[in-house]
Symmetry: C2
Subunit: 204 residues, 2 copies
């Protein structure tokens, strides 16, 4: 299997951590791929019209997307029920929490593009504030959870690590560690876990 | 159960069509909800920090998101395997195709905001072209499928109808019907299906 990825992509990081935790990373060839908003990449558009990372390309050529579906696929390949519950109310809670984290990351990427990719003079602060607020309210949601420190290292914990790591990487002055000491404790407790450490984004 | 929705939301439409097809619509109270980019909605942010539609709120208060997870949940509630396969390679193909359609719709909404929501003078054409191209390449992908007309009315067919309907609603001059006659035939064949008809967006 091949996985399209970039070291800075929090979505690709999610899949890398999942593959390591599931013991499948040795079966996956990482293929560095450059996608830039506002720039074409015709070769990659043929694999994924969305031009997004990551995509898992199976040996038969089938492309699996998005990052969440890839994690579900790898989880099933590893026997199932390891990174998300196979059934019951917890399954839907985990899926919904993951959707929230996915949307938080989408919003953070929109903030990044708004602040740093747009040409001078085309910024819209109300949009930036709106999307930053979505991510921030999402962090507050997870910080409030009494089970944060005792939860399993599942797809939600992995995605939360990726979202916090992305905040550190792209918005180092946003102050999430002081605003949410519970999340700081959560991130510190997992910082030395091998899958988390090896997949950390490059120095800003 | 309650479903937050707006008549113009293609994501809410997807869930409405699914609920009708699954025979569950009578168990769902539709709750009209207004979300506008760049404007706060604190009450709804407490339910969904992402401020996105739709969310399914269960009778015990649990919130299920996003639209895809809601469709999966309703499918399971209706017995399972009705709108997406329960196992096998087809399951991953359907999930991946749905991810593509979800991303196409996300890109079309970004185009809508870029063209019509941003203040005068803050437009960035390269971004608009990039995201429109993602949706367009996605439509081309589905138009090329030899099984388009024979596929079951599953979560992919539903999402494709919603994406095409959104193109009609927000970009009536984009010309998808002439560019992709296969998709035009697909949409025409399903236009009178009751779930499709009753959920159509309001007149532009």
């Amino acid at each position: 299997m091949k996985l399209t990825f970039a070291p800075a992509s929090p979505f690709a990081r999610k899949v890398r951590i999942a593959a390591i935790e599931l013991g499948l990373i040795d079966q996956i060839e990482l293929v560095a791929t450059a996608v830039v908003p506002g720039q074409a990449n015709e070769e990659y558009s043929r694999i994924n019209p969305l031009k997004k990372l990551p995509v898992l390309i199976l040996d038969n050529g089938d492309a699996i997307l998005d990052s969440y579906v890839v994690v579900e696929y790898l989880d099933e390949l590893a026997g199932g029920g390891k990174l998300l519950p196979l059934s019951g109310p917890t399954r839907w809670r985990v899926k919904s929490e993951h959707s929230m984290l996915q949307g938080m990351l989408d919003s953070m990427l929109l903030c990044r593009y708004e602040k740093f990719a747009r040409p001078e003079g085309t910024h819209w602060n109300a949009w930036l504030d709106d999307h930053w607020n979505r991510a921030w309210c999402g962090f507050a949601h997870f910080a409030r959870q009494p089970t944060l420190m005792s939860r399993p290292f599942d797809v939600v914990a992995i995605s939360l690590i990726c979202a916090l790591g992305y905040a550190d990487y792209r918005f180092p002055d946003c102050g999430w560690r002081s605003a949410f000491p519970e999340l700081n404790e959560f991130a510190r407790a997992l910082a030395d876990r091998p899958s988390v450490k090896v997949s950390a984004p490059p120095a800003p």
